[in-house]
């Protein structure tokens, strides 16, 4: 699977899943309710920035702390097409895969991708090409069964078909 889109923002290390969708902001767990709460504590301008591109980039340990699946859902329902981080916290990684939010791990991505850059991301080979700068970088290739879960809409879709 190949994703071509623009980076809308590069976020720092240790963005906690609590802050991605804080209880204070979640007044409904519907897709719209979660989308509205997305990233409010980290970046109040998040939704505006999403107009400029659909690839979100972040540093290390993205989604740390809480196990709340809300965090991944909030990003998915906000329209994030692909989330690339240098590393993910374990439960966030599983949650995102399981709900069909496309995520991708790539050490050093924050050094080579900037807001506005257009990226070509090949999820099967793990190669990211930055069209704007011409640079390429190798990300971590996911095991095929995980890639299948993620790209076929999540775990429950897989369960339905099994």
């Amino acid at each position: 699977m190949i994703i071509i889109d623009k980076v809308f923002e590069v976020y720092p290390d240790n963005v906690s899943s609590e802050l991605i969708a804080h209880t204070r902001h979640v007044t409904s767990v519907s897709p719209e309710g979660l989308a509205k709460a997305a990233m409010l504590d980290v970046d109040p301008d998040f939704h505006n920035k999403l107009e400029n591109g659909k690839i979100m980039v972040a540093g290390n340990n993205f989604g740390c702390n809480s196990s709340r699946e809300w965090a991944a859902s909030a990003l998915l329902h906000s329209g994030v097409k692909l989330l690339i981080a240098q590393s993910f916290a374990r439960i966030f990684f599983r949650n995102a895969t399981n709900i069909g939010l496309l995520i991708f791990e790539c050490p050093n991505i924050t050094k080579m991708a900037h807001p506005g850059d257009e990226l070509i991301v090949d999820l099967s080979t793990g190669i990211i090409t930055n069209k704007s700068t011409g640079k390429t970088i190798q990300g971590t290739v996911m095991p095929q069964f995980l890639l299948n879960i993620m790209t076929s809409g999540g775990l429950l879709e897989t369960l339905k078909n099994s």
């Binding site: 240790n14 906690s16 609590e18 802050l19 804080h22 209880t23 204070r24 007044t27 409904s28 767990v29 504590d41 290390n60 340990n61 740390c64 702390n65 809480s66 196990s67 709340r68 699946e69 809300w70 991944a72 859902s73 590393s87 916290a89 374990r90 439960i91 599983r94 949650n95 399981n98 709900i99 095991p143 069964f145 999540g154 775990l155 429950l156 369960l159 339905k160």
Partner: protein, 414 residues
């Protein structure tokens, strides 16, 4: 192999596993609660799924119970309905999942327990493998009783000596957080051993394993001993096996900690890895204090705090909220006179539940408030307004600070 690897190998029906191997594991118990279960309940029904073994799937209403918002009340209604429809054991308002899982006998050494809550790591204190999953994945587990996992690499923490007076499992946990950082154990197992660990009561061991996830760990684990057997012998539903690490077990890194030298530790607002000895932050004025949660809402915690609070008053500017982790702890506190001691010193005593720990309800922090808490997380906005500040500490330090109205070394009261 080490303890974690041995338990996972058995769960996967294999003789041997190695770190990074992806395996399919049968779980012994799985649970969810009212905050994260409703995320998958409807889908579970719509897809016509059934529970793999209804004696093995547990449901709690513990995070915001009794609820303060209609939305939270609805979540409990939904949760109760799911438990009823699928005929599952349901604990509604009896306490926090991480306390009730062992109390009700769902945890035994050598077993695999999973839950939709990150602090499921707590049961490593009983020599079990336990870890948290997200909601959607729990739908899969509830249906199949199995889940894929990657065998974690392991870190070994050898703690020598014995913790001093007023120094608790919490102080050790906060010290380790500082040592390795908030992603220092990402995806890894944290195994704790040494004389200071053996000397810890189970309550303190639970605190330690509870906080393993704050360093990003998949699980925390301690070899089971007689204290564990004593606790589970009249509780555990399934039989148990004491699993020990082999002498040649492989660890990615080994840390040696001198338990005798450890002072009380406090984490500064922002991250539990931001820890310093209490003496370095003593004197910071506080207005709120929380004694409870799945990290420190147990008997040892209340006994330590009661020693300090006995015959003393909570500072007039401080609200000290006490929340036992379960109903049986509540009743034990009454029996031992601890409840009376606390009430006389002016605490607010609450029913067993998570309280304001995750910022859901019940004692939230307002703008600019400063709280010292026995919970496990202190990032911005965790317990209320994003300008409020949270310091993390042991029950002893929280009790001492509640009396003086500023962060205080509990050793001053002994």
């Amino acid at each position: 192999m080490n303890i974690t690897e041995k338990i996972l190998a058995k769960g996967a029906g294999l003789d041997k596993v190695v770190p990074d191997q992806i395996i399919d594991v049968a779980v012994d118990y799985a649970f969810t609660h009212e905050k994260l279960g409703p995320v998958f309940f409807d889908k579970f029904r719509d897809m016509g799924l059934t529970i793999w073994d209804k004696s093995r799937a547990i449901i709690f209403a513990d995070h915001g119970n009794p609820p303060s918002r209609v939305m939270d009340a609805d979540l409990i209604v939904k949760t109760a309905k799911f438990a009823e429809d699928f005929d599952l054991n349901f604990y509604n308002g009896e306490g926090i999942c991480h306390q009730l899982m062992p109390e009700k006998g769902y945890v035994s050494p050598g077993r695999i327990v999973v839950g939709t809550d990150s602090h499921t790591t707590t049961y490593g204190a009983f020599g079990a493998f336990s870890t948290g999953f997200g909601s959607t994945e729990m739908a899969w587990i509830f249906a199949k009783g199995r889940i894929w996992m990657k065998v974690p690499r392991s870190l070994l923490f050898r703690v020598s000596g014995k913790l001093g007076s007023c120094v608790m499992g919490k102080d050790l946990a906060l010290h380790i957080m500082k040592l390795i950082g908030s992603e220092g154990a990402s995806y890894k197992a944290m195994e704790f051993t040494g004389s200071a660990i053996s000397a810890l009561e189970l309550d303190g061991r639970m605190t330690l394993c509870n906080m393993a996830v704050e360093a990003g760990a998949k699980n925390g684990i301690i070899e089971a001993d007689e204290k564990v057997i004593e606790y589970i012998k009249n509780r555990a539903i399934l039989d148990y096996e004491i699993v020990k690490s082999d002498p040649d077990a492989v660890y990615e890194r080994i840390f040696d900690i001198d338990g005798d030298a450890l002072p009380p530790i406090v984490s500064l607002p922002g991250s539990s890895a931001n820890s310093v000895p209490v003496t370095e932050t003593a004197g910071v004025p506080i207005t709120r204090a929380l004694l409870g949660t799945c990290t420190n809402g147990r008997m040892e915690d209340f006994r330590e705090a009661a020693k300090i609070l006995k015959g003393r008053k909570v500072h007039p500017k401080v609200r000290l909220q006490v929340i036992p982790a379960s109903r049986s702890i509540f009743s034990q506190c009454i029996e031992e006179g601890i409840t009376q001691t606390f009430l006389e010193s002016g605490v607010i005593w609450c029913n067993p539940n998570c309280g304001p720990c995750a910022g859901g309800h019940y004692g939230l922090l307002g703008k600019g408030e400063v709280c010292i808490s026995t919970s496990n997380r202190n990032m911005t906005g965790r317990m209320g307004d994003s300008t409020a500040e949270i310091y993390l500490a042991s029950p002893a330090t929280v009790a001492a600070s509640a009396i003086t109205g500023k962060i205080t070394d509990p050793r001053e009261f002994i």
